[in-house]
C-alpha cells in the first residue's frame, strides 16, 4: 500500500504543485492519477520514488517512510515506466531489460535470463533481444519499457503516461496486454495519465486531480461515473458517463421476456441459435447476441442496433433464451438508478 499523508509540494518560485494530498493506493491494485495538465499528478507520482522531494508531509510504502531510505536502493525496488519508454539507445533490448537486476548485483547471465523471460511475457519474441531501441516501433519500445520495469519483480510500479506516445490502435493492444499481465502479477501500481477513458478502463481506483494540486475525487471508476462529487469531476469524466457506467454492470440481473414477445418473429436455426428477425418476408440478421456475463452497455448497444429494437440473450450453448426490449431496458435502468440513490441515502 502506498500512503500519502498530507503531502505538499511547493516548487522554488512559489507555485504549489501538490496541495495537502492524502490518499491510499491499495496493495495489488492499479490506481490511476488523472487530471488536466499542471494538476500535480506527475509530481505526486515522482514523489513516491523520490525523484521529487515533498515540501512537507510523508509518503509511505507498506508503512515505511520513503524519505528515510537510500534513494538508489528505494528506486531499484520500484518499477519505473515513463512516456516514450526512455530506453537506453546504446544498449540492446536485452541489456535494457537486464538493467535493474544487474544493479541489484545479479550476474550478467542471471540478469539476461530474467530479461529474456520478461521480454516473452510482454509479447516480444527472443529475436528482439539483440536489437537496439532505434530498431523498434513505439509500441515495441513501450513494451520493452514495461519489461524493464518488471525485470527485478518489484512489488510496486510507477508509470508516467506509459501509453500516451503510441497511436490509438497500438494503445488498445497494449492496454489489453497490460491488464492481462497485471491480472497475473498483481502489482501495486500508480499510473499517471491525462486520458480519463484510459483511467476508467485500466484503474481499479482513480484519483482525479484538479488544477493547483488538489485531489478532487478518489474512488472506483464506477463511483466516478455515477457519483461525481462536483461539477469539475462530472465535466472531466465526460458527458456520456451515464452510458459508460453501464460497462461496469453485467446483464445477470436483467429480466428477459419470452422469445415470442419481440414484435416480430425471431428465426432460429435447427439448434435453436438465433439467425435473424423476419420482417415483411425478409430475414434481417440480429445485431448480435449477449450472455448474462456481458455488460449492460453491450445490451443497450444491441437493443439500439437491432432492426426491431430488441436484444437477444443466449445461453452458454448459444441457443436463444430471452429478449430484452427497449422499454424493458429503460425500466430496468430507472429502477437501478433509484436503488442506487436509495443506497446513497442510507
Amino acid at each position: 500500500m502506498i500512503t500519502f499523508e498530507d503531502v505538499v509540494k511547493i516548487y522554488p518560485g512559489g507555485s504549489t504543485a501538490v496541495d495537502h494530498l492524502s490518499m491510499e493506493l491499495p496493495t495489488g491494485k492499479m490506481t490511476v492519477l488523472v487530471g488536466p495538465s499542471g494538476c500535480g499528478k506527475t509530481t505526486s507520482l515522482r514523489m513516491i520514488n523520490r525523484m521529487v522531494e515533498p515540501t512537507s508531509g510523508r509518503i509511505l510504502i507498506d508503512g515505511r517512510d520513503v524519505a528515510g531510505q537510500d534513494e538508489a536502493l528505494l528506486r531499484r525496488g520500484i518499477g519505473y515506466v515513463i512516456q516514450h519508454a526512455g530506453l537506453f539507445p546504446h544498449k540492446t533490448v536485452l541489456d535494457n531489460v537486464a538493467t535493474v537486476p544487474l544493479l541489484l548485483g545479479k550476474t550478467r547471465r542471471e540478469a539476461r535470463a530474467a530479461a529474456l523471460e520478461l521480454l516473452e511475457r510482454v509479447g516480444l519474441a527472443a529475436e528482439f533481444a539483440g536489437r537496439y531501441p532505434a530498431q523498434l516501433s513505439g509500441g515495441q519500445q513501450q513494451r520493452v519499457g514495461v519489461a524493464r520495469a518488471l525485470a527485478a519483480d518489484p512489488p510496486v510500479m510507477l508509470m508516467d503516461e506509459p501509453f500516451s506516445a503510441v497511436d490509438p490502435v497500438v494503445r488498445e493492444g497494449l492496454h489489453r496486454e497490460f491488464l492481462r499481465l497485471q491480472q497475473d502479477l498483481g502489482k501495486t501500481i500508480a499510473m499517471v495519465t491525462h486520458d480519463i477513458d484510459e483511467a476508467i478502463k485500466l484503474g481499479d481506483r482513480v484519483a482525479v486531480f484538479r488544477q493547483g494540486g488538489h485531489l478532487a475525487q478518489f474512488g472506483t471508476p464506477q463511483e466516478l461515473l455515477e457519483q461525481p462529487v462536483d461539477d469539475f469531476v462530472a465535466e472531466f469524466v465526460g458527458r456520456d458517463r451515464g452510458l459508460r457506467s453501464l460497462s461496469f454492470d453485467t446483464a445477470a440481473d436483467l429480466p428477459v421476456s419470452p422469445l415470442t414477445d419481440g414484435g416480430a418473429e425471431l428465426v432460429l436455426d435447427e439448434a435453436g441459435r438465433p439467425v435473424g428477425w423476419r420482417l415483411g418476408g425478409v430475414v434481417q440478421p440480429t445485431a448480435g447476441v449477449f450472455t448474462k456475463a456481458d455488460s449492460l452497455r453491450m445490451v443497450t448497444d444491441l437493443a439500439i442496433m437491432s432492426p426491431v429494437g430488441v436484444a437477444v440473450r443466449v445461453g452458454a450453448d448459444g441457443t436463444a433464451d430471452g429478449l430484452v426490449r427497449h422499454h424493458d431496458l429503460v425500466d430496468f435502468l430507472a429502477t437501478r438508478r433509484d436503488r442506487r440513490a436509495a443506497e446513497q441515502e442510507a
Binding site: Y80, I82, G86
Partner: protein, 228 residues
C-alpha cells in the same frame, strides 16, 4: 614539383637521425602528449559543465577564445617565460586541444535525451552510474568528433615544435626553408598531411569500435512491417 627528398630511401632508414621514422615518432609523441593532457583537463570540465549546466559560458567562450589564439605566438611567449624545452611546446599545443574537447563534451552532454537520463535515475542508478553507464556512452559520438578535430589540428600544428629547436616533422619545414631545399619542405608537408589522414582514419575505427551500434545508426533500421 620535386619529390626526390620524400622518395630517398636513406631518409626512411629507421636509425637515421633526422630521417622520417624518427621525425614521425617525435611528432606523434608531441601529438599524443598534448591530446592526453588536453583531454585530462578538458573532458572532466566539459562533462561537469554539461551535466550540471553550470558555467556553460566557459564552455562556449573557451572554444572561441582558444581558436583565436595563434599557436606560434603563444609558443614564443611561453619560451620567453619558461625558456626552451618541451614544456612550452606542450602548453601551446594543449591550449589548442582543449577548446574542441571541452566544447564537444559540453555539447554532447547537453544534447542527451533527458527522458533517458530520468529513466536511469528512476531505476536506481547512482549519480556516477548515470554518468558512466548512460550519459557518457550516449554522448560518445559528439565527444569523439571533438577529439578527432582536436587530433587533426594538433597533428598539423605540432610542426611548431621545430621552431624552438625540438624535433618532429616541423624540422623538415624549418630546415628545408633555411637551406632553400624545397623538396624537403614539400616532403614534410606531405608526410604531415598523410599522417593527419591516417590518424583520423584510426580514430574513426576507434569510434566505430567504442560507440554503440544503437547510436551510430549502424544497426539496421526497424522493419516497417511490425508496428506493434
Amino acid at each position: 614539383m620535386n619529390l626526390s627528398y620524400l622518395f630517398d630511401a636513406a631518409h626512411w632508414d629507421l636509425s637515421a637521425p633526422g630521417g622520417f621514422p624518427q621525425l614521425i615518432l617525435a611528432h606523434l609523441g608531441y601529438v599524443a602528449l598534448a591530446l592526453l593532457i588536453g583531454t585530462v583537463i578538458a573532458l572532466p570540465v566539459g562533462l561537469w559543465i554539461g551535466h550540471t549546466g553550470r558555467g556553460s559560458f566557459i564552455a562556449i567562450n573557451s572554444g572561441n577564445a582558444g581558436r583565436s589564439l595563434p599557436t606560434l605566438g603563444l609558443l614564443m611567449l611561453m619560451v620567453t617565460l619558461l625558456g626552451l624545452g618541451l614544456t612550452p611546446v606542450l602548453i601551446a599545443l594543449t591550449v589548442l586541444v582543449i577548446p574542441p574537447i571541452l566544447t564537444s563534451a559540453y555539447a554532447g552532454m547537453r544534447s542527451l535525451d533527458h527522458r533517458v537520463v530520468d529513466a536511469a535515475k528512476g531505476m536506481g542508478m547512482r549519480p556516477w552510474q548515470v554518468l558512466f553507464k548512460v550519459e557518457v556512452p550516449m554522448a560518445l559520438p559528439v565527444l569523439m568528433s571533438g577529439f578527432r578535430s582536436a587530433a587533426l589540428q594538433v597533428v598539423a600544428t605540432a610542426t611548431v615544435a621545430a621552431a624552438v629547436g625540438l624535433s618532429g616533422l616541423g624540422r623538415l619545414l624549418i630546415d628545408g626553408l633555411a637551406v632553400n631545399d624545397y623538396s624537403r619542405v614539400l616532403a614534410g608537408a606531405i608526410v604531415v598531411a598523410v599522417l593527419a589522414v591516417l590518424l583520423d582514419l584510426l580514430l574513426a575505427l576507434v569510434q566505430r569500435w567504442i560507440v554503440s551500434p544503437g547510436l551510430s545508426g549502424r544497426a539496421q533500421p526497424r522493419s516497417r512491417r511490425a508496428t506493434t
